[in-house]
Structures are given as C-alpha cells and as structure tokens.
C-alpha cells in the first residue's frame, strides 16, 4: 500500500513540476481573457519551443534555402517587415499584402488579413507553399529536415522521435509563435498600478477609448474580428478582404483588425502598408474615411480630433511599445 502511495505522490509531483514548467513558457498575463489556442492538444515544452524557434529562423523552409519566416517577420520590429509596404519573398517576388506584426497570437481565432487560416498550426503552410513567399512544399520541407543531422537531434529532443512529420513541424512552429507575448508596455504597468500615465497620455487614453477601442479592444488592442475601416480601394490590388474567403458581399472590404501594441515599430500600416506614419493613420480616421456599404457603424459619424488631440492620442499609442518584448533574447535568432 505504502509503495503505491509513494508512486502516486511522485506522479503528482512530476505533474506539478510539469505544470510549473509549461506555465513559465506560456503565461497568460493577469486579467487577460482565456487564450483561444488549445494548448492541451499541443502542450508547450522548452524543447519544442526551441525547435520551433530554430525553424522560424531557418531558410531551410524555403525552396531556394534563402528565405526564412524572419525575413518577413523580424524580431526587432515586432515581427513584421518594415522596409516594404508589400512583403518581399523568394526571388524578390512581391506579395500582395503587408506582413502583420506577430504577437499574442494565442488569443486570435483566425489568421491573415482576410482570416483565410483557421488555426495557428496551419499558418506556416501558407507562406511555405506560396509561390511569392517561400515557394516550397511541406512534403519537401519534411524531407529536408529528415536529412539534416541538426534537426534529427532537435526532433528527438522535442518529440522523442527522430522521424519528422508535418504535424510535428507545424506544431513546433506554433509553439514558438505562442511564446511571442507582448504584455509589458508602459500601458500594462499602468494597468497593473505599477506606474502612471502623464497628463497627455491620460488624455490620449480617453480619446482612444472614445474613438478606437470598439475595434482595437483592450487588452489585445484588437477584437480579432473583421471590419471595414473606410480605406479607399487600391485599384492596383483590388483586395476585397474577408469576402475572398466567405464569398459573402457583407464581408466586402473587411480586414482583420490589427493590434496596436508596438505600433511605434510595426510600420508601414494597414493590409497593404499604405501609411508610413501614425500621423497618416490619424489623418485617415479624421478626414479620409470612404463611405461604402460595409463601412463599420462606429465610423459612420466623423471622428473629430484637434491637432492637440492627435498629439495626445499618439502619445498614448506610444505607451503600447513593449521593449521587454522587442528585445527579448528568447525570441531572437537562436545562438549556435
């Protein structure tokens, strides 16, 4: 009997230790909602996250072995592509959209500007296979990884098996992306009552809650749904957004609401990267809104902001910069 209890206690302890370990890798910030990503189906471990990180930074995922995920999602710019409006991929081909900043992805339920991807695990398939991005096939990626000594070791460590599968490759990349949590901006410390807004930031926060928060909802600064925010159509791209997927005219010109966290670093802005500066964006919201059938209700009435208001609002938006996130060594290029 004693022995059995002993075993039971050891198992409990092991389980607790495991829980503590995973919590440390993926911690839900205080007062945040429950993540949409079900990590019970893909429990995070240090080894799997590390494998995912290697994959994220490795051009082996592309056909010519030159383009990695980080080519378009650089850690120092909140994982977006800064120098281009439309992202550049394999053989310098230009895509049709701006690469979004990557953070807090565990709380999203659909991915891409039009929600084409229904699960974070499936996200990597899109750039890997896209002829203008990495131009490769997941089947060949798996073969390349299988033939690499480095990855045999890493897969063994992560999954206890040197056999590389599509499932394990994708889930590891997900694990790395799940750890990209930004919740340490000045805004966050104010919310945790560890610091204070300046008067200007405070005013900006009020304006933000009044005009912007219905879509860029706290604490993620996006409600993760799709909206038409009144941008004029770019006739060279004719991007209809969400309607491409649902084929429903009510979704015409709706795009996924992007987060505003780290907005200071994630320019250029919007799905096609049309704006370079925050001031361009504010100009759009105050005087550039195009009224079409699917324009969001909250933007039907004009937003009036004086030039002081604009400065205040911008000052607030800059409190969303999270240096801990941007310069986190755990997120950057893996060391040899």
């Amino acid at each position: 009997m004693n022995k059995k209890w002993g075993i039971a206690i050891i198992m409990c302890l092991a389980l607790c230790a495991f829980n503590i370990a995973t919590e440390h890798i993926f911690e839900v910030p205080k007062n945040w909602p429950k993540p949409t990503y079900n990590s019970n189906k893909n429990p995070l471990t240090k080894e799997k996250v590390e494998l995912g990180r290697e994959l994220f930074y490795d051009p082996i995922l592309s056909k010519n072995n030159l383009i990695s995920c980080a080519s378009c999602h650089s850690p120092y710019t909140a994982f977006t592509h800064v120098d281009h409006d439309l992202s550049h991929g394999i053989d310098d081909r230009i895509g049709t959209r701006n690469s979004p900043a990557l953070m807090n992805l565990a709380w999203h339920h659909l991915y891409m500007w039009d929600g084409a991807i229904n699960h974070l695990d499936m996200q990597a398939l899109a750039p890997i296979s896209h002829p203008d991005e990495m131009g490769e096939k997941i089947e060949s990626v798996v073969l390349k990884l299988q033939h690499s000594k480095k990855y045999s070791k890493l897969f063994l460590k992560a999954y206890g098996d040197t056999v590389v599968t599509g499932e394990h490759t994708l889930k590891a990349i997900s694990q790395f992306m799940l750890t990209l949590i930004s919740a340490n901006s000045k805004y966050d410390s104010v919310m945790r009552k560890q610091s204070h807004f300046t008067e200007q930031e405070s005013k900006g926060y009020q304006l933000f809650k009044q005009h912007c928060a219905s879509c860029h909802t706290e604490p993620l600064f996006t409600h993760t749904g799709f909206e038409n925010n009144g941008l004029p159509i770019d006739s060279t791209l004719n991007d209809i957004g969400r309607m491409r997927i649902t084929k429903n005219p009510q979704d015409s010109l709706k795009f996924k609401v992007p987060t505003l966290r780290n907005i200071e670093f994630s320019f250029p802005y919007m799905h096609d990267g049309r704006f370079k500066k925050i001031s361009d964006v504010l100009k759009h919201y105050t005087s550039g809104i195009v009224h079409s059938k699917t324009l969001a209700k909250s933007l039907q009435q004009p937003i009036l902001l004086s030039s002081n208001d604009k400065v205040d609002l911008t000052t607030f938006l800059l409190t969303l910069t999270d240096k801990v996130f941007l310069f986190n060594p755990k997120h950057s290029f893996p060391k040899k």
């Binding site: 189906k41 893909n42 499936m122 089947e139 599968t165 499932e167 394990h168 994708l170």
Partner: protein, 227 residues
C-alpha cells in the same frame, strides 16, 4: 490504485482483442463503368471522348455499422485517406462477429476536425490533401485529362472540400448490405464525369457552390458487391 487501473485496462484490451480479432474486409473498388479503374489508361464516356485518370484520392471517415437503425459498431478516430491507385489504402477492416445491415461513413473531414490544428497519420498536411492558402482539408480529389478539356495538356482537376456553410462539402454515405462476408464498395468514376460536362467545367479548386454540387453526386457512384 495504479496497479488496479492497469489490470482493468489489460482486461479491456484482452476482451477487445478477443471480440474483434476476427476482421472482415471492406474494399473500396474504383471503376470506370464496369471495369476496374487503372491509372494512365484511356477510357471512353461517349463515342467522341477519351479520358484518363491520373489521381483519385479521398477521405473516408466516421465509419459505422448499423443493424436496422441501431449503431452496432463505430470506429474510433476514424480517418482514412484512400488512394484509389494504392492497393494498401483501399482495404479497411470491420469486425466480423457483428450482424449488420448497413454501412455508414462520410466522404471527407468534419468541420470540428477541420478547425483543430495540425494532426498526424492520414490527416498530416504532407499527404497533399490540405489547402495551404486557405485552411481546410480536400475531401475528394480527382485529376486526369480528356480531349474534351480545352486546357494545358487537356487537364482537369477537381479538388472538392470546404467545411463552412454554405460551402460544406462533407457527404454521408449509407450502404445497404445483405451478407456479412467481405463487402466491396464499387465507386464508378464515370458517373461523376457524366455529370460534370468536362467541355465546360474542368477544374474546381476551392470551396464553392460547384464543389458542393459535385460532392453531392459522389454518393451516387457507390454500388455493393460481395467477394
């Protein structure tokens, strides 16, 4: 505590093996009219055309046996990728000591599985049955060429799938069976192709109205024979 659980599991496994060790075969047999369908062979629908099938793959899922209206057996985590030209994949097995009058299964992958992230085995995205630019499994894939198609190499490609309304392509198939012995499910591709009008429609590559319509015809291709 732990020990008792093991013993219990052991008993379950042993009885399970005893009960289900006898297996009958359920064979998916692709045909073109009454002939066995072979890859790269030319067939005729009408006098004027000639048709060759290069790839024919589909998912069979949620396999169930019914006796009258009652479900008497249900396969656990039931997902099979069937490649009509790969003998290894066309044979499924069902327990032989169960009396049943109907076989039920789905052609394709249900919506819950479609939104559940990366999976392994036959559902691994390396199997070529997953859309990359828009998430979702391809339920049914038929590719080939015909002189009726005014396309490059006279190719046609039908990739049917989609799990969201109004473009949900999942199909439920019921087949009445008489005998309990090994069952062969014949699938007549010619019936699908007669429905399509290859001269007008030569590809479907995404969830759409056309995909839903054509998926609805898959059930009509089935007929039963016994070994």
């Amino acid at each position: 505590m732990v020990m008792r659980k093991f013993i219990w599991m052991f008993c379950v496994l042993v009885t399970h093996n005893f009960l289900f060790s006898q297996q009958d075969k359920l064979v998916f047999h692709p045909t073109f009219f009454n002939q066995t369908l072979k890859p790269e062979v030319y067939y005729k629908l009408n006098a004027k055309d000639s048709i060759q099938i290069t790839s024919f793959k589909f998912y069979v899922s949620q396999l169930e046996l019914l006796n009258g209206r009652e479900t008497v057996w249900k396969e656990q985590s039931s997902f099979h990728l069937i490649d009509a030209f790969d003998e290894k994949t066309i044979v499924l097995s069902v327990p032989s000591n169960i009396t049943f009058t109907k076989i039920k299964f789905q052609i394709g992958i249900d919506s819950l599985t479609n939104v559940s992230g990366a999976m392994g085995g036959d559902l691994d995205p390396t199997k070529g049955m997953y859309w990359t630019w828009q998430s979702g499994y391809i339920n049914f894939k038929l590719e080939g060429n015909s002189n009726l198609c005014k396309t490059r190499h006279n190719e046609f490609q039908f990739h049917l799938g989609g799990y969201q309304q109004p473009f949900n392509c999942l199909q439920t198939v019921f087949v009445q069976v008489k005998s309990k012995a090994n069952v062969t499910l014949n699938m007549d591709v010619a019936k699908l192709l007669l429905y399509i009008q290859l001269s007008e429609l030569n590809h479907i590559m995404s969830p759409s109205k056309e995909a839903v319509e054509l998926s609805g015809k898959i059930t009509e291709t089935f007929s039963v024979s016994y070994e």
